[in-house]
């Protein structure tokens, strides 16, 4: 049966709440949302009413006060059914972490409660056309003029772009200072000079919104800077360290969803007079899929628990969880399509979507090559400090 991860009563309740929601509300609409590339607004609204939008936000800011593992459990259950919906859900946290980690009292009180209640959505703006893996290539600039920063530049492929009201954006305040020349800002939809590019057409996670953020002499009040000038890269890196187990949880949920579909199909599909699960070739594939998925779950929970324990440097385990769980989800969803054969390739069954969706997990929030860089750098640092 299920592995005992020593979850608390509250964590089991979080799992149950999201599992029921995903089953009752998301399964009936996931294929249609994907087909129509329609943002899951109604679903997110309901998640807000269920206290799940504010799961990771402290209770004094109208959230539920849950930790990283609590949030990962919720993302996992939603991802088991649809990661297009789960990325739209989790990207709110990615956009919020800069404020939660570095925001001052006034910023926290102004921006977090509406996000916690699901009244407003949030997004994180780091990536640009020439600054993906190499965040040092950021071109967007912010210049202080009087009591306002003037932002110019374009952010690319921003999840929840256009749908969100609150954006945390990284821009260069002093090009001469290199990595210390970037700063993080809170930008609101509707601020003068802030507009959106077209909605991107994607291979997978099609119901999620991916747009450009365009800043043309965009005026951002001076008090909307996070931490202080020059902290932009630290804000971005700490944000990603915190959010990566969430992507790992998407990988775990997606892989589990694919295992669910593959085992269910293999038990009922008959060829040569017996269910195909009676064939050792199929059983071994399923065994590998389930084992990989469980291992991904274990490393993801370990990363989340490390964050919840308040460890200062979580880069390595955070990157490891993202790397491992998302590689697993790509392999497992691909095998699920193989087990369903011709049916698996058809849109009538959910596994082709799962396989299309999986690919992004190896790319966004740092490609899996970058994760290996992060892990490698951590190893160098760790062993250099040994005597």
């Amino acid at each position: 049966m299920a592995v005992n991860y020593g979850l608390t009563e509250q964590q089991i309740e979080i799992q149950n709440a999201m599992r029921e929601f995903a089953k009752e509300r998301v399964i009936p609409v996931r294929a249609e949302l994907d087909e129509k590339e329609e943002f899951p607004h109604a679903l997110l609204q309901e998640l807000g009413k269920m206290d799940l939008m504010g799961l990771y936000i402290p209770s004094e800011l109208s959230g539920f006060g849950g930790g990283s593992l609590d949030f990962c459990l919720a993302i996992e259950e939603l991802s088991r059914i649809c990661i297009g919906v789960s990325v739209s859900y989790a990207a709110n946290a990615l956009g919020s972490y800069p404020i939660l980690l570095f925001g001052n009292d006034a910023q926290l009180k102004k921006y977090m409660p509406p996000i916690a209640k699901g009244e407003k959505y949030c997004a994180f703006g780091l990536t640009e056309a020439n600054a993906g893996s190499d965040a040092g290539g950021i071109q967007t600039t912010a210049v202080l003029k009087g009591d306002k920063y003037i932002l110019n530049g374009t952010k690319q492929w921003i999840t929840n772009g256009g749908e969100a009201d609150t954006y945390t954006v990284i821009a260069i305040t002093d090009r001469n200072k290199g990595a210390r020349g970037a700063s993080a800002f809170i930008v609101e939809k509707g601020m003068p000079g802030f507009s959106f590019g077209k909605k991107e057409k994607k291979l997978g996670i099609r119901c999620s919104a991916t747009r450009e953020l365009v800043f043309q002499d965009c005026e951002v009040p001076k008090e909307n800077i996070l931490a202080r000038e020059g902290m932009g890269f630290i804000v971005a890196m700490k944000t990603l360290d915190t959010s990566r187990p969430g992507i790992a949880a998407q990988g775990v949920g997606l892989a589990q969803g694919a295992v669910d579909e593959a085992v269910t199909y293999a038990r009922t599909r008959e060829q040569f007079g017996k269910p195909i699960i009676a064939n050792q070739a199929v059983q071994h594939m399923l065994a590998n899929m389930a084992t990989q998925t469980e291992a991904a779950r274990a490393i993801t929970y370990a990363a989340a628990r490390t964050i919840d324990a308040g460890e200062k440097d979580v880069s390595k385990i955070s990157a490891m969880s993202k790397l491992f769980a998302t590689d697993v989800s790509m392999a497992v969803t691909t095998d699920a399509v193989q087990i369903l054969g011709g049916y698996g390739y058809m849109r009538e069954y959910p596994v082709e979507k799962m396989m299309r969706d999986a690919k992004i997990l190896q790319i966004y929030e740092g490609t899996n090559q970058i994760q290996r860089n992060v892990i490698g750098a951590a190893l160098i640092k760790e062993y250099a400090s040994m005597k």
Partner: protein, 261 residues
């Protein structure tokens, strides 16, 4: 406004089996849920609570295990719940169940509105809602698809086979609703956690002032003689439709033979 919602725990369809020997329904496992129409009744009450700041109390007749559906209702936003449970209630038919629920409504004292699901998923009698109204001496409107209220009276739409009827109704009243009226909300996380801790002590016949012989099997007016599954339909007669004129004649002849036309 104080609204009472009556809910019943029913087995989920998958868990029900018919015992071949006794022909009785056997419900195995813990696969129980709130009767689907009762979920609509609860949602209708919670929607009124959202707009009018009403208090919502949920009632159910059953065993300790039945408390789970009350917790689900509390998780969704009901303010209070009562588990009406007594050995004397066992074997109650629709008459006796209505009597128990009406007694509980009376005992609460300040109730203005009772909302029930139009029928249950297992018993299917559709009698308990109107039964409660009868015992209370309140008007009853069944099969309601829309409720509006200013707190003192109700504006309703009641479904008919060929349309609907608009009604206004003074409180107190009893309504029954079906799935047309709304989509039930899901329980919030905070609601779920609070509901887990709720104390649900059984409310007994004595507490409701009901003499044991007036409820349960003894107080019931109906007796279940036998229960059996619906016989499966046999194959029927297939008519070759390649020549419509011939096919039509065959069908008409058959109908005449069966004296149906």
């Amino acid at each position: 406004m104080h609204i009472v919602v009556c809910i019943k725990q029913v087995p989920s369809a998958i868990a029900v089996k018919v015992d071949a020997a006794t022909q009785a329904l056997t419900c195995t496992g813990s696969d129980y849920l709130i009767n689907p129409f009762d979920e609509n009744a609860l949602e209708a009450a919670l929607a009124l609570k959202d707009s009018l700041k009403a208090k919502v109390t949920v009632l159910t007749v059953g065993s300790a295990q039945t408390a789970e559906v009350l917790r689900e209702a509390l998780g969704r936003g009901a303010d209070a719940a009562q588990l009406l449970s007594d050995a004397a209630f066992e074997g109650s038919d629709a008459w006796a169940t209505s009597k128990i629920l009406a007694a509980a409504v009376q005992k609460l004292g300040d109730v203005n509105l009772v909302i029930c699901g139009k029928q249950t998923f297992d018993g299917d009698t559709a009698q308990v809602g109107p039964g409660i109204a009868e015992f209370l001496g309140w008007p009853c409107v069944a099969f309601v698809r829309k409720i509006e209220s200013d707190g003192a009276s109700l504006k309703l739409e009641r479904i008919y086979e060929e349309g609907f009827e608009k009604l206004t109704l003074a409180l107190p009243a009893v309504l029954t609703v079906g799935k047309e009226i709304n989509t039930p909300r899901m329980a919030s996380l905070k609601g779920r956690m609070a509901a887990k801790k709720a104390q649900l002590a059984p409310v007994t016949a004595a507490a409701l002032g009901l003499a044991p012989e007036t409820v349960g099997a003894k107080g019931s007016r109906t007796r279940l003689a036998r229960m059996a599954p619906v016989p499966r339909k046999s194959g029927g007669i297939k008519v070759d439709g390649s020549d419509p004129a011939v096919a039509a004649k065959l069908v008409v002849d058959k109908l005449r033979e069966m004296k149906l036309v």
